[in-house]
Amino acid sequence: MNLEDIMQAPAPASEWVLERDCEESGLEPQAVREEMRRRITEMRDSVERGLKNDAKSITGMVGWNAKGLWDAPDTLNAPLLVRVQAYAMAVNEENARMGRIVAAPTAGSAGTVPGALLGVADHLGIEDDQLVGPLILAAGIGKAISKKMFISGAAGGCQAEIGSSAAMAAAAVTELMGGSPRAAVHAAALALTNTIGLVCDPVGGYVEVPCVSRNAFYAVHAVSAAQLALANLESFIPPDEVVTAMAEVGRMMPPALRETAEGGLAQTPTGRQIMERMESGEMDPLPLIQ
């Protein structure tokens, strides 16, 4: 199942994706729907914990961003923007505190899908039961991407993680708002197109900086892609070709920019300082290990 197949599916695309996947796995469609419904509850739970909690992560680099934004005045009068950003960071700050989250597709990018999907749903007063289909489509988009590349920062840079999550979220929001399968897949392609080349350069090697703020940005990016696709704007490059291009860029990316903390933000003077403090034991989360 590639993106072209999903694009040609009868509406809603999520039902078609679910049937194909269950034929392969032998799982019952209803069981998958129920499990996805449970995962929406898990996502909501992590959002709620994250919006209330401003305890620092193990390193102290993040922890207060979601609550800080949520409690701040909405100066730009953009409530959807605030909601999407705060939800996304809430999930990733819970993640950085070793809290319970739903990987989507990875833990480092776990804030994007709930940020965009729950953010839009709450902004418009849509019930959680209506989110099951869109979340299934999100998973189908992720699966189609994973056919062409490993979804991990170590293998393909951040584009593989946050790009995939943004594509998944963009398609989900598009289906939620009544967009066609074609529009949903083009939303995913537009999101990917504008993430290609993004490196994975976590400061100190932790899933904190820039991961937490990056989830806020790419949750908005996903909503933006959905907005374009819902207006029938399309990716000029066919969606599957975009995925191939991303995989190719991932292969060309030097290892220093693939989760090793040997390049980018991780190697700035401040990034190196964090690394030194970690190595000296001052910030070491694992004092028991010699």
Partner: protein
Amino acid sequence: MTLLDMVGPVMVGPSSSHTAGACRIGLAAHHLLGEAPRHAEIGLHASFAKTGRGHGTHFALVAGLLGYAPDDPRLPDSFGHARAAGLSFDFEHIELADVHPNTARIRLRGDSSSIELIASSTGGGVIVVSSINGSAVSISAAYPTLVLQYADRPGILARITTAIAAEEINIATLSCTRDRRGGSALVAIEMDGPGVHPGVLETFLRYPSMQWVQLMPKLMDG
């Protein structure tokens, strides 16, 4: 990989590859040992060695060895739980050839047996076990998997597959390797559905040349 692996797993943070995947690698070792683990030598390769500390990889691997799933809230405190359970462990940095950057080698010992496995975490919590007791395998943990080691003799594989067929279980994948003709052979069989009844293991152990049998349950959500 199914839809539930793409939006999922539900897990303790912070990294699907370095935390959830690492926990599943530990879990694979836990099930392959098949008894309470007493000591683990854990070798971390490349990215696991370099950035594991920042991702709770060590906690996650030990949690898996104790039998905890990736969403178990005890995961961050696994070192304390290991001490209480009588499991000791050492970590070292290792370099393996031609493997994924997120790879671990675990040598695990119980009271009566020991195993060695090499496994990689390839992203999103997905793992691949690439070696068991020195024999190359490719186990996804997406299926219940039978692993059998026996002295290389004619007809053993036929007896094993006949017994599986008798339970009306379909074999999804099967790999068989041996160290040399007439030496030690290792078979890994991934099965559709719930897999064979654990009672069948007793039957396999009665085959004359059988040395070791374990049943690893499905570790993925899908």
